[in-house]
């Protein structure tokens, strides 16, 4: 049976990892490399690393750093932030990324998604969507540039479009819930899960293990991503998986060699 993944999200800003609240008030968390190393040693299911300021500059992506970070990563590694051109994708894959995550550039150039999917396959493309609740209270609106800029796109139609263009997974983040520990926006996750046929990764707001259970059981998420809960509390991906398993959700057991699994 396919296992539900618990995915730590690493937000990378200049020299280190950060984490904010509502995509703002960034706190320093520490350097990237040891974080990747520790998560790898603990056999997390997957890692997502996003350069949250790459979209602000026209410089080339920092491929060298990605190369360093992936040195010790033997679980799936999704890398995002500042991807605007197809050529960047092969560079990231050569540097050690397994999938790429595209957000801001997709709004101005949706064709980029189609190109990546055609060249590298849908399984290589994670489309990330950041949303806020619509001011009228009906639905959610999409924001680009790390949550700063309204795009005028409504979540459901946008999710369907990026699926049609070949996104293999959708990472959906509630900006309002981000860093609040109040739990995922279950109505949002469920709306996206119903709208598309690809796996949906819930993000934004996890504060305890039960929130993760709810995202899967109530909203139908295929995976749960979280950052603050792992950076700022004692809770761990392994703890999350144990809690999910206790709630009847299939999770991955770790392989320790010598013919044993735990």
């Amino acid at each position: 049976m396919l296992k539900v993944r618990v995915i730590p999200t690493l937000l990378w800003k200049q020299v280190g990892l950060v984490k904010g609240v509502g995509f703002d008030s960034w706190r320093r968390v520490g350097p990237v490399l040891p974080a990747v190393k520790v998560y790898n040693q603990r056999e997390v299911d997957e890692l997502i690393l996003v350069d949250i300021i790459a979209h602000q500059s026209s410089d080339e992506l920092d491929i060298e750093s990605i190369d360093d970070f992936s040195q010790d990563c033997f679980v799936p590694f999704t890398v995002g932030g500042g991807i605007t051109r197809i050529e960047q994708v092969q560079k990231l894959l050569r540097a050690g990324a397994d999938k790429v995550c595209v957000n801001t550039a997709a709004y101005s150039n949706p064709e980029l998604l189609s190109e990546i999917a055609k060249r590298h396959g849908t399984q290589c493309l994670v489309a990330s969507i950041d949303v806020r609740k619509d001011s009228l209270g009906a639905g959610w609106q999409c924001f680009s540039h790390a949550g700063k800029m309204p795009t005028g796109r409504e979540i459901i139609s946008w999710a369907r479009e990026i699926e049609d263009r070949g996104a293999g997974e959708i990472l959906i983040t509630s900006i309002e819930r981000d860093g609040t520990f109040q739990g995922y926006d279950l109505a949002l996750i469920e709306a996206v899960v119903r709208a598309v046929g690809v796996p949906v990764i819930a993000s934004g707001g996890a504060g305890n293990y039960q929130h993760m259970v709810d995202a899967v059981k109530q909203a139908g998420a295929s995976a749960v991503a979280a950052a603050s809960i792992f950076h700022f509390t004692e809770q761990t991906p392994a703890g999350a998986k144990a809690a999910m398993q206790a709630a009847g959700i299939p999770v991955r057991s770790n392989f320790i060699g010598n013919g044993r699994i735990t």
Binding site: M1, L2, R5, F74, A97, K118, Q123, R252, S253, F255
Partner: protein, 214 residues
């Protein structure tokens, strides 16, 4: 044993090379088909669409070289994910209708590549994540040291259906039984990504490198 990683322009090469280095193997990146004779065995990664990869293999002269090295010289080959699907006779990926016979693969392990949907899978596609793999116990070697039920990392929308069921050495279940690994003597293929399956993946890579023809 010199292990070559075939670099035909696509694929998560970085990850494959890192995983081999972790096993104390110094892989040699093979960027030209004419250099294939310099190594003893091959790993063929693959990320992308079957049609694009098949075209890259053809354009780069890889198909002739692979036939010579793998079929004539009997050098071991491990295809990963799309690299495994390229071992098939044909694939329907990217083929607009069912009237066509599909796109040609290497035909090293006869069979077809079909979409998970057309095979009857009604769950979310792509099939992404860690799933349990059960090996066919009558086949030695491939899964040595790896107990049944071990999770490996999958990410794919198409699946390989070999003509000869004995070529399927492991399966997983995603609504339907899905080929997880194939084997025809020294030719190996895995639908999952051993290079991204942590320690279980290392064990499988070790089995291939240490004993590919058992």
């Amino acid at each position: 044993m010199r292990v070559g990683v075939i670099d035909y322009g696509v694929g998560n090469l970085g990850s494959v090379v890192r995983a081999l280095e972790e096993l104390r193997v110094k892989p040699i990146l093979i960027t030209r088909a004419i250099d294939m004779h310099t190594v003893d065995s091959f790993i063929m990664p693959g990320v992308g669409s079957f049609s694009d990869c098949a075209k890259l293999l053809g354009d780069g002269g890889w198909i002739q070289a692979l036939r010579q090295e793998v079929l004539v010289e009997s050098k071991p080959l491990l295809g990963i994910c799309l690299g495994m699907q390229l071992l098939a006779t044909t694939s329907i990926e990217g083929v607009a209708d069912n009237t066509s016979n599909g796109l040609a693969g290497l035909n090293f392990i006869p069979g077809r590549v079909e979409s998970l949907r057309s095979l009857g899978c009604n769950l979310r596609v792509p099939h992404v994540g860690w799933n349990e793999v059960t090996s066919n116990t009558s086949v030695n070697g491939t899964f040595d040291g790896i107990p049944d039920g071990t999770d490996f990392y999958f990410v794919h929308s198409y699946a390989f259906v070999p003509d000869n069921p004995t070529h399927v050495v492991a399966t997983t279940v995603y609504d339907i039984p899905v080929t997880a690994a194939v084997r025809c003597g020294h030719i190996w293929g895995t639908q999952f990504h051993p290079e991204k399956s942590s320690r279980a993946g290392f064990q499988l890579l070790r089995n291939f490198i240490e004993n590919p023809t058992c």
